[in-house]
Amino acid sequence: MLETSDVLVLARLQFAFTISAHIIFPAISIGLANYLAVLEGLWLATGKLVYRELYFFWSQIFAVGFGMGVVSGVVMSYEFGANWAGFSRIAGSVNGPLLTYEVLTAFFLESGFLGIMLFGWKRVGARLHFLATILVALGTLFSAFWILASNSWMQTPQGFQIVDGRVVPLDWLKIVFNPSFPFRLVHMSLAAFIVAATIVAGCAAWHLLKGRRGEGITKSFSMAVGMILVTAPIQMIAGDAHGLNTLEHQPAKIAAIEGLWETEKGSTSLNLVGWPDMRQERTKYALSVPHLGSLILTHTWSGEIRGLKEFAPEDRPDSTIVFWSFRIMVGMGLLMLLLGVIGLVLRLRNKLYDTRWFQRFALMMGPSGLIALLAGWITTEVGRQPWVVYGVLRTADAASPLSSQQVGTSLLIIIIVYFLVFGSGVYYMLKLMAKGPEAGDQAADERGDVGTGSQRFGNRPMSHATDPIDE
């Protein structure tokens, strides 16, 4: 028995590690691809060179992130069978076809038009190039569509029947458009846009702090801070709606997120901070506000929420983890809102580019989109436990018949390889950002070939940039 649980823990650690490393890159790709489509559209509409300059700059960083997302994604598609044979055997009939649709509709659309998007400036006209950019951006969203349909089905499964212990799909429309899917799709897409916005704002802030005031830098700072001002509140509304949906379909997850053990009568208070203790079945050091739980979670003054004790101990998700991962996500969201509002105030006073403390704030907030994204995913995935398919298949029954030595060895190899490879990739992306949009353009101006194709940018995604990365 000890052996089995060891394998389970190692397999879960491995999945958590590989999927966390992976999701960073697609999130950046989704956000930047759409930003690039906007930039190119603005360039075509206004003819202002600054938009094209920004397009070239961010397309280099996009290309690296895209490549990293592809290679880390290949691992995921084989991990389901290797570490989670039980899951594949029982629920592969649903998840397999959805993944196949992702490969067929998204991967090939992206790889088909990425080449034109990155290197096709000389070979195709401006309109066709714009179309290629839009198709790549659409491809990233299609990819999100299928993978989130798959994940959401695991959270709120429907449209199937269990025959001989295996899932048999009955209604694919119900499977794809399961109850949590629309909420998750909106929440994740917005999150990817916010990831891009915070990174662009952080990058521009870094250059502003260095005293650079080129148009590319001020324009991207202004766009990104504006984007955060718009998206942060929308994301909060979307997240709130997602929360109501979760309360309806996965009440144990909500109770764990709030560290709520008893079903409080009359109204529910909200634990602002505290330390949920799974063994003692209470939340220690809790600082709580009466009625606030009801207000936020049910949108009523006296709504009741079922506490964790109403669920059997073996059906409870780990409250300690999700309590805090959720608060990290929300905290990041509030800071983003603050960033957006201060940005607006400074903009109205014409001080957006001259306020150093605000630039430092924006720089520090650079990774906040990614932190919030990871914290949010940890909340929803850990909150689904102990189920892998909610209410249908327990995670413990989903693992492969492997030894802990095997899974431990592969975990070790994967951690080393990922740090080496994706460490280099992230380093490369940061080096590119540090160069800034101006540098590339000046060099190109001197050669008189602003924004032309292969000479400046090479013909491959990750070798898209011009300068050596290790000097």
Binding site: G81, G458, S463
Partner: protein, 335 residues
């Protein structure tokens, strides 16, 4: 034999794996030839011949995996745990190789390191793929729809030999590809490798066939029992004919012929493999019918494949057409 859904799906996945061997084979082979070619600019040229197509080639592996998962979840969930460590090692090899491919061109100080990552990544991925194929051929113990064999069941003299065999196979393909795509000194030296490497390939195919027949009576029965022998007798003859053709044209100016004949040998060898396995999907006991997903899954997935596969094939062919012709040192490059 009636054509039913599982048979159609077995056909689609066979096609996917075949296209993968056909396309990613030569492209991994370039990594295997890398250590032996390092004159001025040679490695850049070798990389540039596959730069526009390698990631498309690798996508067939992703498609194969996803289709196997969706259409035959029982095969997917028994095969992968059976070859667990080789699969993990193969994926790590592909990661190193893919990233090295792209970063190498931008690195100066660390270029040797990325070259090493490219070579080791290609080698590991190829060797592991060979071992996985060998393990599959030998058969995997399944009880009650679950893998029930040993953790190191994939490690046998036969599977190691298959790993080495695939290294030779891919290197040979890479050599044929480079004869077609390059010229000058690099092409001359690649040409010198054509004859010895195709002889070696022939010997390996022969040995693996013999080993399979002697080691597994069930496969021998399939090959030689009943009318099968009559149908399959031409296969070894055609392989021989291809090798003769390679010798005939190795030194001629028909640069593409040796490569095409090599791909034909791969097709013939692969058909032998399919004959040995079908209608099982994981020998010796799991048939395509027992491994199948529910009908509703296979039908839903078939819609997607029927619409998208022709488009994907068209796009892939187009990309080879756009980048046809010789690649030379100092070309306004892909990097």
């Amino acid at each position: 034999m009636t054509i039913d859904l599982p048979t159609i799906w077995a056909g689609i996945i066979s096609l996917g794996v075949f296209l993968y061997l056909l396309l990613d084979g030569f492209d991994l082979g370039i990594g295997l030839l890398f250590p032996f070619f390092n004159r001025e600019g040679e490695r850049e040229v070798m990389l540039n011949t596959v730069a526009p197509v390698w990631d498309g080639n690798e996508t067939w592996l992703v498609l194969g995996g996803a289709c196997l998962y969706g259409a035959f979840p029982v095969a997917y969930s028994t095969l992968l745990p059976a070859v667990y460590l080789p699969v993990i090692a193969m994926l790590c090899g592909l990661i190193f190789r893919g990233v090295a491919f792209e970063i190498r061109a931008r690195a100066r100080r660390t270029q040797n390191l990325w070259d090493l990552a490219f070579i080791m990544g290609s080698g590991t991925a190829t060797f592991c793929q060979g071992m996985i194929l060998g393990t599959l051929l030998q058969g995997i113990k399944i009880v009650d729809g679950r893998f029930a064999g040993d953790a190191f069941g994939w490690l046998s003299p036969f599977s190691v030999f298959c790993g080495l065999g695939l290294l030779v196979t891919y290197a040979t393909l890479g050599c044929g590809w480079l004869v077609m795509k390059t010229d000058g000194d690099l092409q001359r030296r690649m040409r010198m490798l054509l004859k010895p490497s195709s002889l070696l390939l022939l010997a390996i195919i022969g040995l693996i066939s013999l080993w399979t027949v002697l080691g597994q009576p069930a496969v021998a029965q399939r090959w030689f029992g009943g009318h099968n022998f009559v149908y399959f007798a031409p296969v070894p003859l055609l392989v021989l004919a291809c090798v003769v053709g390679i010798f005939r044209w190795a030194d001629s100016s028909h640069d593409a012929r040796a490569f095409i004949l090599m791909e034909a040998i791969i097709f013939l060898g692969y058909s032998g493999l399919l004959i040995s396995i079908f209608p099982n999907i994981v020998p010796p006991t799991l048939s395509i019918w027992a491994a199948s997903a529910p009908r509703s899954s296979q039908i839903f997935e078939l819609f997607g494949v029927a619409i998208m596969l022709p488009i994907i094939l068209f796009y892939s062919a187009l990309s080879y057409w756009v980048f046809r012709g010789k690649v030379r040192h100092g070309d306004e490059g892909y990097h």
